[in-house]
């Protein structure tokens, strides 16, 4: 799965010069658009949208109804609203993630946008864990190393997922047992060793050292935070 091309949709007629300037200064790529089926929409969809309700309320809400059709909340939306329009937001909470009163303060808009995009990145990352050549798709439960699918049992998958989500951190066997197995498993703490050994075998020689043994402590996935 390719990383999403980062392109913000700006729905405003006309685009306030202050908005264009703020986005450019903050380093966002953006395009104006008027509708969901707009040909300018990037292949991976918009990475976010800024909708200026203050300028064109009707066009703005129409655009958002299209974006949020079918309950899709994948595209983060920031509204620009005039003070007199706040009542319009009532019952429309599902159409946007945050708003900013206009005329806006450029630093505030930038901060809100940054916050929104970070939250969005995390949301998308949560479905895909990547570390080096290892990819775990949390939605389909599939894992691959250098593009080669890994066949694992459920617990092997869960252990790898947990480790890959916490790279660089050292876990004791007991911690892994309680965090990954989550219940009193009769395999005991040594179960962790057994599963690590199996995972290494399945990752293959080349990648076996992704899971490192930390002597008399436990295991660490990937490089230590203190190495460089």
């Amino acid at each position: 799965m390719a990383a999403r091309e980062s392109m913000l949709a700006v729905v405003a007629d006309p685009v306030p010069p202050e908005l264009a300037r703020t986005l450019d200064l903050a380093g966002y790529s953006w395009k104006t658009t008027s509708g969901v089926d707009d040909a300018g929409e990037p292949a991976g969809g918009w990475s976010g949208a800024i909708v200026d309700i203050a300028g064109d309320a009707e066009g703005g809400w129409a655009f958002l109804r299209g974006v949020r059709k079918g309950g899709d909340r994948g595209t983060p939306v920031l509204l620009l609203v005039g003070g007199a329009q706040l009542s319009e937001l009532e019952h429309r909470d599902e159409f946007f993630d945050d708003f900013c009163l206009t005329p806006f303060h450029p630093a505030e808009l930038e901060a809100r946008l940054r916050h929104l995009m970070v939250a969005d990145v995390d949301l998308h990352r949560a479905e895909l864990v990547e570390y080096g050549e290892l990819t775990l798709n949390l939605e389909t439960y599939q894992a691959a190393i250098s593009g080669r699918p890994l066949d694992m049992t459920y617990m092997e998958y869960e252990l790898l997922k947990f480790l890959a989500q916490n790279p660089g951190k050292v876990f004791t066997r007991e911690m892994l047992l309680s965090r990954v197995w989550g219940y009193e498993y009769y395999g005991g703490a040594r179960t962790v060793d057994v599963h690590v050994r199996r995972l290494r075998a399945k990752l293959g020689e080349e990648h076996a050292n992704l899971i490192q043994t930390v002597r008399s402590v436990g295991y660490r996935f990937g490089q230590s935070r203190w190495d460089s």
């Binding site: 439960y141 599939q142 040594r190 179960t191 050994r197």
Partner: protein, 445 residues
């Protein structure tokens, strides 16, 4: 937990395009059985199990009700690394239940599950690492003696090297199935191999042994070679054993280890060993369940004959290996009589039951027998109180029949069925007139 396990299995089947799911279980004699279902049936199987008629499965027959339920254990889901990669197959081990959902007494996996759980209730985890030996033969010709595929010996790096290639492919297959291999090498006899598996908890290992035997045969047959776990396929050379390394852990600590003891054995380890020695004869019919098993347990071939223990004496029944670099985690005992033709679920169950009896009742460990017992006369051994293992399947069955330990450990259903089945095997054997007898008697008597 269960739901996400199920989802994992269902999604994997979907994503990997699995065409056939094999539901595996084991009969009382240790034969792997498989019930194949289509992926469309899988969700239903994971939820409610699959009903089948158990009456023709060895040891599953019951008087009133023949139907039983195979409940897949979702955590054992694995893609099978052999066969056509375009039509992948997967396997899941099953527990067998009555239709009302209670565990079925005839299911060996449930027997082991019960023992492992009992040990767990006392805070102990039972770890097992078998060293399995087997032979590679040229394709069998009916009526002809088997021909080993090579004439290598112990640790030989044979160059020809079908054997090496076979072992390598087998190990790759095992690792792909999540069965880590610690060592593999050419054993003493021509065509004989040994593969040592890395320890896991006993239930996982019993599943692994079932998979292991299939994988070894499967890989061999792809190369037009016959692999066999028959305990003594050839006269005059050593047979195939399955030495089992055993240890008990309490959490992260090895309950068998005591740094202050001369042999680094804890009182728990000693009581466990005492239990195994005390009940060794009783459990032998299960650890060595064929007529042929007893042809291996004879003097002179590195197989144990006497019920004894020692630190580094391979003629004893229990050996205490010296751990590498004195690693406390590696303190363990090695039980040397079982052969790889046993039912691993039942064999591990009885080893654990015998050892735990020793711990619970505080058995005293007899003295170490560090001399080569093969060179000591029987009268001396008797004076030392060293008994022999049963000499035949019949002997073993007689001892087993009187064992309350084995009866309790296996449960009435399997205990009775096993004795009945094995007695009939013995009777069939007893009526044979062998070439040995004709050679020896026909001319002179």
């Amino acid at each position: 937990m269960l739901d996400s396990q199920r989802n994992y299995v269902l999604r994997s089947v979907e994503e990997r395009g699995v065409r056939l799911v094999r539901l595996w279980f084991t009969d009382v004699l240790g034969t792997l059985k498989s019930l194949a279902i289509s992926p469309a049936e899988l969700e239903n199987a994971l939820e409610d199990g699959m009903t089948f008629d158990g009456s023709s499965i060895d040891g599953f027959s019951r008087v009133q009700e023949a139907d039983v339920l195979a409940m897949p254990d979702a955590d054992t889901f694995e893609l099978l690394p052999w066969g056509d990669p375009k039509v992948p197959e997967a396997r899941i081990f099953c527990d067998i239940h009555h239709l009302d959902g209670t565990p079925f007494e005839g299911d060996p996996r449930q027997v082991l599950r019960r023992h492992v759980q009992e040990a767990h209730d006392e805070g102990l985890t039972f770890y097992v690492a078998p060293d399995a030996e087997f032979f590679y033969f040229e394709p069998l010709v009916p009526g002809q003696p088997p021909v080993p595929i090579d004439h290598g010996g112990y640790f030989d790096l044979t160059t020809s090297d079908v054997t090496g290639e076979l072992r390598k492919t087998t190990i790759r297959t095992l690792e792909a199935l999540g069965i880590p291999v610690e060592y593999s090498f050419h054993e003493d006899a021509p065509g004989q191999q040994e593969i040592d598996l890395r320890h896991t908890d006993a239930l996982t290992m019993a599943d692994s042994m079932m998979t292991f035997r299939l994988a070894v045969r499967e890989v061999a047959s792809h190369h037009d070679v016959h692999a066999t776990f028959m305990p003594k396929p050839l006269e005059g050379v050593q047979g195939s054993g399955m030495h089992v390394h055993l240890s008990l852990f309490r959490g992260d600590d090895n309950a068998f280890h005591d740094a202050d003891d001369a042999y680094h054995l804890s009182p728990t380890a000693k009581a466990f060993m005492a239990g195994m020695l005390h009940h060794a004869a009783e459990i032998t019919a299960v650890t060595n369940q064929t007529v042929n098993s007893y042809k291996r347990l004879v003097p002179g071939f590195e197989a144990p004959v006497h019920i004894s223990w020692a630190r580094n004496n391979r003629s004893g029944l229990i050996r205490v290996p010296i751990p590498k670099r004195n690693n406390p985690m590696a303190t363990r005992i090695e039980y040397r009589s079982p052969d790889p033709a046993c039912n691993p679920y039942l064999a591990f169950s009885l080893m654990l039951a015998a050892g735990m009896r020793g711990i619970r009742e505080g058995y005293e460990l007899p003295d170490e027998a560090d001399a080569n017992l093969f060179e000591i006369g029987d009268d001396v051994l008797t004076k030392l109180g060293i008994r022999q293992l049963p000499q035949s399947l019949n002997d073993a069955l007689i001892v087993m029949e009187n064992s309350t330990l084995v009866r309790e450990a296996l449960g009435e259903h399997i205990f009775e069925w096993f004795l009945r089945n094995k007695r009939s095997e013995w009777r069939a054997y007893k009526t044979q007139v062998t070439p040995f007898e004709r050679d020896r008697y026909l001319g002179t008597l």
